[in-house]
Symmetry: C2
Subunit: 257 residues, 2 copies
Amino acid sequence: MIRQQLLTPSPEDLADFLNRHTRSRDCLVQVAGLAEVTYQGRAASTADVGTYLMVIKQDGSLQIHHPTGIKPMNWQPKTDSITARVDEDVCMLLASRRSPEELVQVVFLEPQVALALELAQAGGFVLRGSEAEMQQTLAEHPELIEPGLRVLNRELMVESGGIDLYARDAQGRYVVVELKWGRATQHAVSQLARYVRSVEGKLPARAVVRGILAAPSITTPARLELEDRGLEFREVSALPQATAAAGGPGAQPSLFD
Amino acid sequence: MIRQQLLTPSPEDLADFLNRHTRSRDCLVQVAGLAEVTYQGRAASTADVGTYLMVIKQDGSLQIHHPTGIKPMNWQPKTDSITARVDEDVCMLLASRRSPEELVQVVFLEPQVALALELAQAGGFVLRGSEAEMQQTLAEHPELIEPGLRVLNRELMVESGGIDLYARDAQGRYVVVELKWGRATQHAVSQLARYVRSVEGKLPARAVVRGILAAPSITTPARLELEDRGLEFREVSALPQATAAAGGPGAQPSLFD
DNA sequence: TCCTTAATTTCGCAT
DNA sequence: ATGCGAAGTTAAGGA
């Protein structure tokens, strides 16, 4: 499982280590220690000398973490090229990709640990409770939005994007429904307005098109803009309450701090 | 620098290790090996048995990585509580937080490596070339957008959000400028339209308010909607050309694969 | 705290 | 490749 581990490696050893294990593309490589990081591409950044943890995965994706926070300080989603070399008595790593063209450069001033791990088998992964699932439920039960509603399409593509639900109401008027899994924002109102305009453009003049924003809640500014534009809001409780995972929240004996 | 390292630890040893080092809040903890992960909170997810890498940082943020991809398979931005315990002869870790209430549970079936690292000094961090910098440059040189433009405000707050640049043109008409650092999308057009409406609402009736979207490029649908709404586009090259980092792209001797 | 926006967003899907 | 929108988005900043 541990392919190789080095402690306080020399620049040469570290460069060898990095080149060998990144090329084999079958293990996860990490180096922790004092380093300096620069990025240039979509933006440009420099991280001062500090203690960081660099992780390179099998697909060549690279991330450099500082001591706190969920997001890496620097990263590269997938690299075309990773090269380590010794330059002026330090090991330096260059990770680059095209499209967009960008480059991450790491200078390892005092590498403390280098570790190559085999992460062989990845199990299946299932996520439940996304907006897609909410859409499916409401498509099957449109009466939860409004009695008499009949769904014509799901994910109907118009030039301005995809309409979550396209329907007709009890009076035969066309209805555009925009779903939000969480609290609806002004962004959602803009989206809905755009879709309504698109549909109106496709129908004969004077056809009435209703726009309904369906979400568990809505922000105050969004509500104002919605009413201002003659659109409607329907409160829809977040539906798919997943069956509680083994040992639900609320039974931890001790605290993190 | 390595606080402690365990190889193929027993469930009891691993639980002790995790509890001790997560509580001290001064090191980065990681465990690699065969595990099973479930999440419940904003959504719900299950990862079948597989080989994963779990990292817990000093602030209690947790991420579990599978072999590929930049994003963790499961994560928790900052936990209120992290607890490890032995249950049915395996070590199990519970990481939870409130607001939103969510829980990550990791069952370590065959832990291979457990490592506690000190990542002491974090370097300062500088990022350049963001939209903020573009805004500053254009605020100081509004003639790059249009001759005769005078900037009245930057980041002017209106009820619908913040206007990047608020200005008057050579004819004295008010101008709302929305900046995008990258390619402008429909989203940016909606934003601009919202701001123009807000400003029109504050001015005497019939006042003319121009809306200008300034970006290096614009998508076709966005351009259509922009013109449809009587708004304007100005091409502005991505200004802050960062001074090339040492050893810019295009000089790698060898490829990643 | 709520709300909005930026992000080197990433990711996936459709054209 | 481009365009669009979701995401368990995260993170920052103002009201």
